[in-house]
């Protein structure tokens, strides 16, 4: 399967993790965080983000231990055949379930802004085709597409965030963790909050393609750190501009942020649609990488050489799943399942696998 050869630079891996992590989550993250933690939602995001940097270290080290294999290949050896298989299935499910949510978010975005009234089959269908078309490429091409798109998305996003500083009021970020504002009864929402962070599986899948596998941990940590930073910054500015009460009400807070930017001098009247256009690329990178990884992982699991067949075969299934996420509540519930899965993998299986690999190493000595 290693057709791509070792062609990815550390930078590209960092960007792939970023591209996978930064997607639809960022547009909704501030309102979720505000809903649970009130005005100090940004701090919560930072804390969770930093927590994931720690997990990133484990994931990176684990990947470095097996520089020639993906996690699908070595997990049965570490966990035993049955548990290994179960773990692999869960791992692939985690990668896969991101796609329908991703498609759904795109559908919503496009429908509320760019093409009101466009039918689902058109928007989701074309997007899905584009995903499959892209994902059936080789790994270096995926990395290149991701590199270009995610950079544009982050650049435009940051531009909007910085431009909206004109409305920023630091008092909106206070008080820090006040009892009145924290709504911990919505535990599932808290899970949803972590949905945006679960981008570590990427590194355990692409390590056989990294040019210099010894840079893996560094690249992973860098990416997680960036994700934490970007999310925190974005949440902080959103809350600072809108105040947490309004932030809860706004479902697509990133777009509202762009809408509130006064850009009279710019040739376009509004920035929000520009943001959406660039954000489609961020969404696309998430979907692209996860489709690619699903194809790769399933290919290794069932020993099919051509991952493209798997990817195209999954298209109708994905379409059906994304169409069954009918409304906001259903798909937030879904994203919670995905988040739960990612939590279990990140905080239980990664340390476990790492521990097992260390023990195995010792035994060999």
């Amino acid at each position: 399967m290693k057709t791509g050869g070792r062609s990815l630079s550390a930078r590209q891996v960092t960007l792939m993790i970023l591209g996978y992590g930064i997607g639809g989550g960022i547009l909704t993250l501030p309102s979720l965080a505000a809903g649970i933690f009130g005005a100090s939602g940004w701090l919560a995001v930072l804390v969770i983000g930093l927590l994931y940097v720690g997990v990133a270290w484990i994931a990176g080290r684990l990947a470095e231990k097996f520089p020639e294999e993906t996690i699908i290949e070595y997990s049965p050896r570490l966990l035993g055949k049955v548990i290994g298989l179960l773990f692999n299935l869960a791992f692939i499910a985690l990668l896969y379930l991101v796609i329908p949510v991703n498609i759904r978010i795109l559908q919503e975005l496009v429908n509320i802004s760019l093409l009101p009234g466009a039918p689902t089959w058109f928007v989701s269908g074309t997007y899905l085709l584009a995903l499959a078309y892209g994902a059936s490429r080789e790994v270096d091409q995926i990395a290149q597409v991701n590199e270009l798109l995610i950079e544009i998305a982050i650049f435009v996003g940051l531009f909007v965030v910085v431009a909206s500083f004109q409305h920023f009021d630091p008092i909106h970020l206070l008080p820090v963790f006040s009892k009145d504002q924290i709504n911990l009864d919505q535990m599932e929402q808290l899970l949803g909050l972590t949905f945006a962070f679960g981008s570590l599986p990427v590194v355990n899948m692409v390590v056989p393609y990294i040019r210099n596998p010894r840079q893996t941990t560094k690249a992973t940590m860098k990416a997680s750190f960036f994700i934490a930073l970007i999310y925190t910054f974005f949440t902080a500015v959103s809350l600072g501009v809108f105040g947490y009460k309004e932030a809860i009400d706004l479902s697509w807070i990133g777009l509202e942020l762009a809408k509130s930017v006064n850009s009279r001098a710019v040739i376009l009247q509004r920035l929000d649609l520009v943001l959406i256009v660039s954000w489609i690329s961020a969404l696309y990178t998430t979907g692209l990488i996860s489709s690619f990884l699903v194809g790769l992982a399933l290919g290794q699991l069932v020993r099919v050489r051509k991952k493209a067949y798997i990817i195209w075969a999954l298209v109708p299934v994905t379409y059906y799943l994304s169409a069954s996420l009918k409304n906001y509540f259903i798909w937030t519930r879904w994203s919670i399942y995905v988040a739960l899965l990612s939590l279990v993998i990140a905080f239980f299986f990664y340390p476990l696998l790492y521990f097992l690999s260390l023990r195995k190493e010792k035994r060999h000595e």
């Binding site: 039918p119 078309y133 309004e246 509130s260 009247q269 195209w312």
Partner: protein
């Protein structure tokens, strides 16, 4: 190491799918794609009391202003000013209880689809704002993604619809004219600058109440000045021109304004000073065991009309600074008094309590309107004579 060549069957498949895509796309036609000329750009919306006296108090008269493209864009020349009675816009109106229904009723009269993406202005008659509430009227626009957050909102002391029909002195449409008036560029200190986005933020937040600019009809033009305080989504009361100026200073709105003060050395003479660079710092302080909201205002001023007769500069400086400070302070205190009178926390005191004294806030939250009226608020003003030497002596 030779890279495996992508098999041709694969490429064919990609080609096949892209062809499929094209066919699907062309077969499906277009959705909601509307020509520019099939849309009616609504530039301004106005809410009024229905003309008939016996109307239901929960009903309102909804008017929209739509520019006529052929008269505005068209062949360059005749666009300027639209003189000769042939106005470059039309105004439609209908009475309704809900904005959504009103718009649907309007749509029945207009052959093009009403489009709110370019709405620059939402004008609300004060009576309507009092009875129905600003909140309810704006709800529709809050939900329409195409409405901009930069849309200006104003409370009208008079009939809002008349403004839509007004012949603007310079700009092409009244909406453009009024939007400019309500923007910061008009530079008037007694004009409260706000927009839809700001209104929504202030509205949603606990411990702050929104303020909207006031517009009143003059003879042939519209005048800005003053502001409307909104309390719990409804109109609560006006702020006078000077109170608005005070509010602008308190909220750090970066204004420039003139003050007339008595000359400290020659009590009968007046000195006009131009003040600017106001900075207001809001603090919560314990004063005499009581939590007090302390606003420290600093600013700079420059004499505008000044002559030798007022006395030597060196002697005058201290006294003049004191006098100006006192004048400004009196005005700010008046603003605060007015706000407390109305029971509307337009200063954001509650927001500060929430951020820095959460315990106190928890106690006061439920009854904040009344608590605010009694809350000790202190203003300290220190004005400084900038003395940028533009001209020595008179």
């Amino acid at each position: 190491m030779n890279r495996p060549v992508k098999s041709t069957s694969f490429r064919k498949k990609g080609f096949f799918f892209s062809m499929l895509l094209v066919i699907v796309l062309t077969a499906s036609g277009c959705w909601q794609g509307l020509e520019l000329n099939a849309r009616a750009f609504v530039t301004a919306v106005a809410f009024d009391r229905p003309a008939t006296e016996e109307a239901d108090p929960s009903e309102f008269l909804l008017s929209v202003q739509i520019p006529v493209p052929a008269k505005m864009g068209g062949e360059g020349g005749d666009g300027g000013g639209g003189g000769g009675g042939d106005q470059p816009f039309v105004v439609f109106g209908t009475t309704a209880k809900l904005v959504q229904i009103g718009i649907r009723q309007l749509q029945r009269q207009i052959d093009r689809e009403l489009f709110f993406g370019h709405t620059q202005l939402i004008l609300i008659n004060v009576e309507v704002a009092k009875t129905i509430g600003v909140d309810r009227l704006l709800d529709y626009f809050k939900r329409d993604f195409r409405v901009q957050r930069m849309t200006k909102i104003a409370i009208i002391d008079g009939v809002a619809r008349e403004i839509l029909n007004l012949q603007p002195p310079i700009s092409q449409t009244p909406s453009a004219y009024i939007e400019n008036l309500l923007s910061a560029q008009s530079g008037s200190a007694i004009n409260y600058i706000s927009d839809f986005g700001r209104f929504l933020v202030e509205q949603s937040e606990e411990g702050t109440e929104p303020v909207l600019p006031r517009l009143s009809m003059g003879k042939e033009t519209v005048q800005t000045g003053g502001a409307a305080v909104i309390h719990k989504g409804k109109f609560a009361g006006w702020l006078s021109n000077l109170e608005t100026r005070g509010l602008n200073i308190l909220l750090n709105q970066n204004i420039t304004s003139n003050y007339e003060v008595a000359c400290p050395l020659h009590p009968r003479e007046t000195i006009v000073v131009g003040a600017e660079n106001f900075r207001a710092h809001h603090r919560l302080r314990e004063i005499d065991g009581q939590t007090t909201y302390l606003i420290k205002v600093r600013g700079k001023f420059e004499t505008v009309e000044f002559s030798e007769k007022h006395g030597p500069l060196a002697v005058l400086q201290d006294d003049l600074e004191k006098v100006v400070s006192a004048t400004v302070q009196a005005e700010l205190e008046q603003t605060i008094r007015r706000a407390q009178e109305l029971g509307a926390d337009i200063l954001g005191v509650g927001r500060h309590l929430q951020a820095f004294k959460p315990d106190l806030w928890r106690r006061m939250k439920s009854n904040w309107g009344r608590e605010f009226s009694a809350f000790p608020i202190k203003v300290e003003v220190k004005m400084e004579w900038a003395m940028t030497v533009r001209r020595l002596g008179g």
